[in-house]
């Protein structure tokens, strides 16, 4: 078991150039954006003299290379810099936003699995049957509806019409947070589920036709026990990598959802930072997202390995 996890340190080392590359791209692309944070801060009162003074004060007059060097040095010291707009450490803003977006993603993932697993299982049990048609109709519909539209329709129906859920916001207590996140998580969960249903359905059909399932059946296993112990465990393997890729995309997609539902997560932070050219915040959020995507990648590999003993990602390991 431990031997099979030996790929992890190597993977972690590989992340270093990836993250370094991300900082490079984010820093220089960010500064290619037209616009000046000093003018964003001064607004219509900007005069050439005041803009120059503020640029000096914010350190924007230093050569870009020097600014990048300072940025890297600060990161190595665990310092994400100072927000140009709020004049507080970026870390405090990011730390406030990360849990929000993470819980939204986790919640969305749970919802999409709660929809996908039963639906795909029922559909695969009898290809061409009634449930299969439901599943196929659902995936078609789910992929055809834009996420923000689903969000607005859910808002109109459940929040404005029936008043079961609040219309956007995040609340104050932890219980509030869960309650406020229901609708956005449902929106994202619905958006994520069609591809999961599809992949899970087809892999389940494959697994059901395999010989070891016939063996299991001949030994008397059937129903949910068979599905859980033998079918799902094998069928879910390709789906895990799909979910991994999805989660990476979803962090980006959360910008739209966070705006529609007024959720103060990474997406909202990023959007505001871009509007006000708050470079340190843009860099920090991009870095967080990059780290998240890398972490999800490694996590996917670990789950993959755990689920399937035949997969060995470690060097020198032999495929059985």
């Amino acid at each position: 078991m431990l031997r099979r996890m030996q790929f992890i340190p190597g993977r972690l080392i590989q992340t270093i150039p990836v993250v370094f590359g991300v900082t490079l791209v984010v820093f220089f692309l960010g500064h290619l954006l037209p616009g000046d944070p000093a003018i964003a801060i001064l607004g219509e009162h900007a005069t050439p003299a005041r803009v120059a003074a503020l640029r000096e004060q914010l350190g924007l007059n230093l050569p870009l290379g020097v600014q990048y060097g300072q940025f890297l040095l600060h990161i190595l010291q665990g310092n994400l810099g100072q927000s140009l707009t709020y004049q507080v450490p970026v870390a405090s803003l990011v730390l406030q936003a990360v849990p929000v977006t993470l819980s939204l993603l986790l919640f969305a993932l749970i919802i999409s699995l709660a929809i996908s697993i039963p639906l795909a299982g029922l559909a695969a049990a009898k290809p061409g049957g009634a449930w299969d048609y439901v599943a196929r109709g659902y995936t078609l519909l789910g992929q055809g509806m834009p996420q923000f539209w689903v969000g607005i329709m859910l808002l109109l129906l459940l929040a404005v019409g029936l008043r079961v859920f609040p219309v956007g916001g995040y609340g104050i207590t932890p219980l509030d947070h869960i309650y406020y996140l229901c609708l956005p998580a449902l929106t994202m969960g619905i958006a994520m589920s069609p591809t999961i249903v599809r992949s899970l359905r087809s892999s389940t059909i494959d697994v059901l036709g395999s010989e070891y399932i016939a063996t299991a059946r001949s030994k008397g296993s059937s129903g949910t026990a068979l599905f859980r112990q033998h079918v799902l465990r094998n069928a879910v393997i390709p789906t895990v990598s799909i979910i991994g890729v999805h989660l990476g995309y979803l962090v980006g997609g959360s910008i739209v959802i966070e705006k529609v539902f007024a959720i103060p997560g990474l997406g909202s932070l990023m959007l505001n930072a871009i509007f006000s050219r708050d470079f340190p915040t843009i860099q920090a959020v991009s870095l967080m997202v990059a780290l998240f995507v890398v972490a999800v990648g490694i996590l996917t590999d670990i789950i993959y390995t755990l689920l399937n003993p035949r997969i060995n990602l470690s060097e020198g390991g032999e495929a059985v």
Binding site: T47, I152, V260, F261, A262, N272
Partner: protein, 523 residues
């Protein structure tokens, strides 16, 4: 002027807002108005708006979402009257002007305490005004340029000495940046103090979750007995106009600080909601770069001014909730002169002016607008088609807001869309910006507009303490400016707000200050 951050909304949001506006306008029961009921103490008010505050440092911060909150916590010596036309004492009780108009002796209101219970004294006043004056190059301090020194006479009297006679001084003292805070930041650093500011205002600091909400609580030590009525006011950040609208309908918020004009009518007809269009000091206009040909020609500028159908703009952009501009001062600004002729849509006159100009057969020019600004986008397209009628080809050039401002202060434009709102109840803030070519960073210097006769008259108005004489000066200036047409005045826009009908006595002055002091909620 303060930054107007509202207009940059993503396209699809506007589209969905319109879609939903269409859906809900079906219900058209008149608003229930519970007028003149007795104020009830208690209750928490929630205000939703598209942007978060940035900082509470009133001397440095520039954006309205921040300043509108500092005004609830910290109060200045004077404040604008409700109609925005003049100044009345707030923390001051009375004042005397010396015969040479250079010394103002100000008596402070007795019994005023900061929210932490310590009494406000003349020392605090001196410290606060000096603090602002020090930010002349970095913040709002330039507004105190006429002040020579502030002296403490006794605990409840200060004396302000001016360098020269300066009529707008009381209006300047009414600016949020001159609000009174405890002497020496209560021994803290400025940064620590403004992280949780203390003032004499009706509300005191509570919590700020950046990007999420900012909450102020009732100041139990407030000097106006029995007020404020509300226990707290919370400003939440809700970027999407449509979400704010739905939250208002669902009763989740009490006030929407920035409803779209496109959904204003449908909000108005929704049962349980109220809409407000408060008179403002906002004027939308276009700048002419007079350093280049042919816009340096007054006949060209007049031709363009006659070619614009302003009522049509008001209808298209503000859905009828505004009025065409006749002067560069808005009706909510003191000394606005409604008799100034202005320009009305007249193709014959436009063509006649163009015929007298250096380019009788028309020309090609560009109009700079802010990318993502829905209002400027709509206006620019209408103006483009209207100018085509007199042979002027207008190319629309979009730049993001900060690059746009950079281009405008560097005179790197032909024509440019812009918006102005006032911060002080005095026309000088705008007039000095628009007319003073010597001031680097002023509109006049960026546009290359210089009329010495107007500049001299403006200087005279600055030193004139008698309101009747000042009014005469500013009337003359407005007429002369109108003849020169240095800018293309377009329309005046009110401030749009919406609330549930439980919110009573809510008002906003033409300067944009919300009054939460008298607000109460009915059941």
């Amino acid at each position: 002027m303060r930054r107007t951050r509202g207009a940059t909304l993503v396209g699809f949001v506007a589209a969905t807002a319109m879609l939903l506006a269409g859906c809900s306008s079906a219900a058209s029961t008149p608003n229930s108005t519970s007028a003149s009921s007795k104020p009830v103490a208690g209750g928490d008010l929630v205000v939703a708006r598209p942007f978060d505050a940035i900082s509470m440092n009133k001397t440095l911060v520039n954006d309205s979402p921040s300043l509108w909150i500092t005004e609830q916590i910290m109060e200045p010596l004077f404040t604008s009257t409700d109609d925005g036309k003049s100044v009345k004492p707030l923390l001051a009780s009375s004042y005397k002007v010396s015969a040479d108009k250079l010394t103002y002796t100000i008596n402070l209101r007795k019994g005023v305490k900061f929210s932490d219970g310590t009494p406000m004294t003349a020392k605090d006043v001196k410290f606060s005004i000096d603090e602002d004056t020090k930010t002349a190059t970095t913040g709002w301090g330039y507004i105190n340029a006429a002040i020579d020194q502030v002296a403490v006479v006794d605990d409840s009297t200060v004396q302000i000495k001016l360098k020269y006679a300066w009529a707008p001084i009381l209006a300047d003292l009414a600016l949020f940046s001159n609000a009174i805070i405890p002497d020496n930041y209560q021994g803290k650093t400025a940064a620590d103090f403004y992280a949780a500011p203390v003032g004499t205002g009706p509300f005191k600091w509570d919590t700020w979750q950046k990007g999420q909400y900012l909450k102020l609580a009732k100041n139990a030590n407030y000097w106006q007995a029995g007020k404020p009525y509300l226990n707290s006011v919370t400003w939440t950040v809700v970027p999407d106009a449509n979400t704010r609208k739905l939250q208002l309908q669902g009763g989740q918020i009490d006030i929407d600080q920035q409803p779209d004009w496109s959904s204003f009518a449908s909000l108005k007809s929704t049962p349980g909601l109220k809409t407000y269009a408060f008179p403002s000091t906002q004027m939308d206009y276009m700048e002419f770069n007079q350093k280049i040909k042919p816009l340096d020609d007054v006949h060209v500028r007049r031709a363009i001014s006659y070619a614009i159908d302003r009522p049509a703009l008001v209808k298209a952009v503000l859905f009828g909730n505004g009025s065409p501009a006749n002067s560069s001062l808005a009706p909510g600004v003191p000394f606005y002169d409604k008799t100034v002729a202005g320009y009305t849509f007249d193709l014959k006159k436009a063509k006649a002016e163009l015929a007298k100009s250096s380019v009788p057969n028309g020309f090609t020019t560009t109009l700079l607008i802010k990318s993502g600004d829905a209002n400027q986008g709509a206006v620019s397209q209408i103006v483009q088609s209207e100018l085509a009628a007199i042979g002027i080809t207008l190319t629309i050039r979009q730049l993001d807001p900060t690059s746009n401002k950079k281009a405008r202060i560097a005179s790197n434009f032909d024509m440019a869309s812009a918006t102005w709102t006032m911060d002080i109840p005095d026309p000088d803030e705008w007039m000095s910006y628009a007319l003073n070519p010597g001031n680097s960073g002023s509109l006049a210097s960026a546009m290359g507009y210089n009329n010495p006769a107007i500049a001299a008259l403006n200087k005279q108005a600055q030193g004139e303490v008698d309101p009747a004489k000042r009014a005469a000066d500013y009337s003359k200036i407005q007429t002369m400016q109108n003849n020169d047409a240095p800018i293309l005045t377009l329309y005046y826009s009110p401030y749009a707000y919406a609330s549930t009908d439980k919110v009573q006595a809510f008002a906003v002055t033409p300067l944009g200050n919300s009054n939460f002091l008298d607000v109460y909620k009915t059941k």
